[in-house]
């Protein structure tokens, strides 16, 4: 996109958002969307490590068929906390709260989000919710599974369910505030000339994500609150003794928590569109189809939640409807994958690190998505429900999809955020290590799940051991793969080569401003005159 801002004018001449203030207060009281993004980056990285530690313990326990590391009760707490932390405190905020926060205003040519104070508030709300979760760990953990199924959670569990419920309830509001800010910002703050169909697909994906956050999160908040009320005050909404229906809780919970899967994957898809366009030097094939497929996924995502409940006492007729609708979600997802593949066709592809993650995403998301169709089929699901097949499926989507996208985004925009380049060879190596480690961890789980290994058990028959050994071996490789970026990215902050405003020769308003950007992003509001990803025209000021 061409703009009236001349990047070279600023670079090297001093102040940017990182140097605009140094004290702790300048960070904790900031309303700058970029600084808030960094705050989120630090917080969710912490939670990723914590959630990862729980995963490590789980994998070590599963190395042998006997329960020799932890007791059954501790194991229940381990997988519950792993799920809770990873979903509510890492995956849901990950790309939106870090990269969405950082990039949306810059990509649309605005000085900040619509409500900067609300944005800061969302981080504080997130932090308070996180503190509750720390308190849960100190209070001895919680063992309901991240799904809080009643009546176990509301009546029988002896663990800190109440505290956990408050933590998740509060964290939900940070998600709502972020979504609200994005929706309003994208509607009202676009630069002159930046029409809806000139927006980067990253923005479309975040718009769809934000709609889910607005429409879904209040529902999970209220249903978790109901569990809390039932536990603490005995007001029984789901209590079978009163004729309450535990399956109703599952309805309420999955009304949010299925679309929440799309909160995790849609931003990642938005990242993919940016990466693939940039490293194939081509406009995304079928731009408007990819844009609308994001909205279609968001809307259809609200119509399919019952496929989590095929083996509950949900009506099988409702199950049939949900099963058919589930198949329909495959359509917009496939539209995206085919369009990305078509974009690559005839493109001049280069294999920089972010693109490596994009390749990883494409393969892993496709496997995750297709196995999702197995699970969405009413009859087959009865066989594989609550087995490791499900575990493998959603890890292919959430780790293989969402985290690949997250890492791709991190490597793509790292030079923009901090103005430094990381060592490309190390980064490429770690992307390959992560890909191999990931597949070795989770592919055996499809097999062992199909053979009948149920999830959430810490002991299992001897004949399943080989799969678990492979899986644990893969997890070790994966852990090493994740450790690499931590080291070289921090190293790059000090020793990395200066990035310059546009290290990838990419199109998009964010590449027209200096790296790191200044506090208000643009000296004057840019005027947009071309389509997104117009790689047929040379990047301004550069010889491509």
């Amino acid at each position: 996109m061409s703009t009236t801002v001349e990047a070279s004018h600023h670079s090297g001449t001093g102040e940017n958002y990182l140097t605009a203030g140094y004290g702790l207060k300048s960070w904790l009281m900031t309303t700058d969307h970029k600084r808030i993004a960094i705050l989120y980056l630090l917080s969710i990285s912490l939670f990723f490590v914590i959630g990862g530690l729980f995963a490590v313990l789980i994998r070590i326990e599963l190395l042998t068929p006997a329960g020799d590391l932890v007791s059954a009760d501790s194991y229940n707490k381990l997988f519950t906390l792993h799920g809770l932390v990873m979903i509510f405190f890492f995956l849901v905020p990950s790309i939106p709260a870090v990269f969405g926060n950082f990039l949306i205003p810059i990509m649309i040519g605005a000085r900040d989000l619509a409500f900067p104070k609300v944005n800061l508030a969302s981080w504080y709300v997130f932090t308070i919710g996180g503190l509750f979760t720390f308190a849960v760990v100190l209070a001895g953990g919680v063992d309901t599974g991240w799904t809080f199924y009643t009546p176990y959670s509301s009546t029988y569990s002896k663990t800190a369910v109440g505290l956990t419920a408050i933590g998740v309830f509060i964290t939900g509001f940070s998600s709502i505030l972020t979504g609200l800010n994005f929706v309003v910002t994208i509607h009202k703050m676009r630069a002159p000339g930046l029409t809806w169909f000139r927006l980067p697909l990253f923005i479309w994906a975040h718009y769809a994500t934000s709609l889910i956050m607005l429409l879904g999160t209040p529902v999970v908040a209220i249903s978790i609150l109901l569990v809390f009320l039932e536990r603490v005050f005995g007001i029984g909404i789901f209590d079978p003794a009163l004729g309450g229906d535990p399956v109703l809780f599952q309805h309420l919970f999955w009304f949010y928590s299925h679309p929440a899967v799309y909160i995790m994957i849609l931003p990642s898809m938005g990242v993919m569109s940016e990466l693939i366009a940039c490293f194939c030097r081509k406009r995304i094939f079928g731009y408007s189809f990819v844009a609308f497929s994001s909205l279609a996924i968001a809307v259809l995502g609200f119509l399919v939640w019952g496929h989590h409940m095929f083996t509950s006492s949900q009506s099988i007729y409702a199950g049939m409807v949900f099963s058919i609708l589930t198949m329909m979600v495959a359509i917009p997802s496939a539209v995206k994958v085919f369009n990305w593949a078509a974009t690559m066709y005839g493109g001049s592809i280069s294999y920089e690190t972010p693109m490596m993650y994009a390749f990883g995403f494409l393969g892993l998301f496709t496997i995750g998505g297709l196995t999702g169709l197995f699970l969405g089929a009413l009859g087959l699901d009865v066989h594989v429900h609550d087995t490791y097949f499900v575990v493998a499926h959603f890890h292919y989507i959430m780790v293989g999809g969402a985290i690949m996208g997250y890492l791709g985004a991190l490597h793509f925009w790292w030079p923009k955020m901090f103005g430094r380049l990381y060592p490309e060879a190390w980064a490429k190596l770690s992307s390959i290590v992560i890909f191999i480690g990931f597949n070795l961890t989770f592919f055996p789980q499809f097999l062992v799940g199909y053979l009948g290994m149920p999830r959430r058990y810490h002991v299992y028959p001897d004949e399943f051991q080989i799969f678990h050994v492979l899986s644990t071996a893969g997890a070790s490789i994966l852990a090493i793969g994740y450790a690499f970026p931590v080291v070289y990215l921090i190293w790059s902050l000090v020793r990395g080569e200066k990035a310059g405003p546009n290290p990838w020769n990419a199109k998009g308003l964010e590449w027209t401003v200096p790296s790191p950007p200044t506090t208000f992003n643009f000296d004057e509001t840019p005027v947009v005159t071309e389509e997104a990803y117009d790689y047929s025209r040379p990047v301004e000021g550069k010889v491509v």
């Binding site: 709609l211 429409l215 019952g306 009506s315 409702a318």
Partner: protein, 108 residues
């Protein structure tokens, strides 16, 4: 947004209508309309809510975007309720074999 302010008498008119409708909804509750009872109560409530949204909340005088946002909330609510009732209503249906194949019965 109301660049042009709405004349006060419209507020009073809406107010009077709302009170009247409250009276009506109480009154009709005492007639047994069978299956329609709930529909009538719901219909009146929706009409009252629409009056408040359109006039007190100025949506009638706002941009179409506001209208779309308001509608979106209620549409997704309707989706939720539809599936809840789909489940509640069909949960104890069963297929029973008979001479002509299978037929669907609802146990009493």
């Amino acid at each position: 947004m109301s660049e042009h302010s709405i004349p006060a008498r419209i507020y009073y008119l809406v107010f009077a209508t709302l009170l009247l409708l409250t009276l009506i909804t109480v009154e009709v509750a005492f007639y047994d309309l069978g299956i329609l009872t709930f529909g009538v109560a719901l219909g009146i409530a929706c009409f009252k809510a629409a009056l408040v949204i359109l006039y007190f909340m100025h949506v009638r005088y706002s941009s179409g975007l506001t209208g779309i946002f308001v509608a979106a909330g209620f549409v997704f609510l309707a989706i939720m309720l539809t599936f809840f009732l789909l489940d509640a209503s069909s949960r104890d249906w069963q297929y029973q074999p008979d001479s002509s194949g299978f037929s669907m019965v609802r146990p009493s």
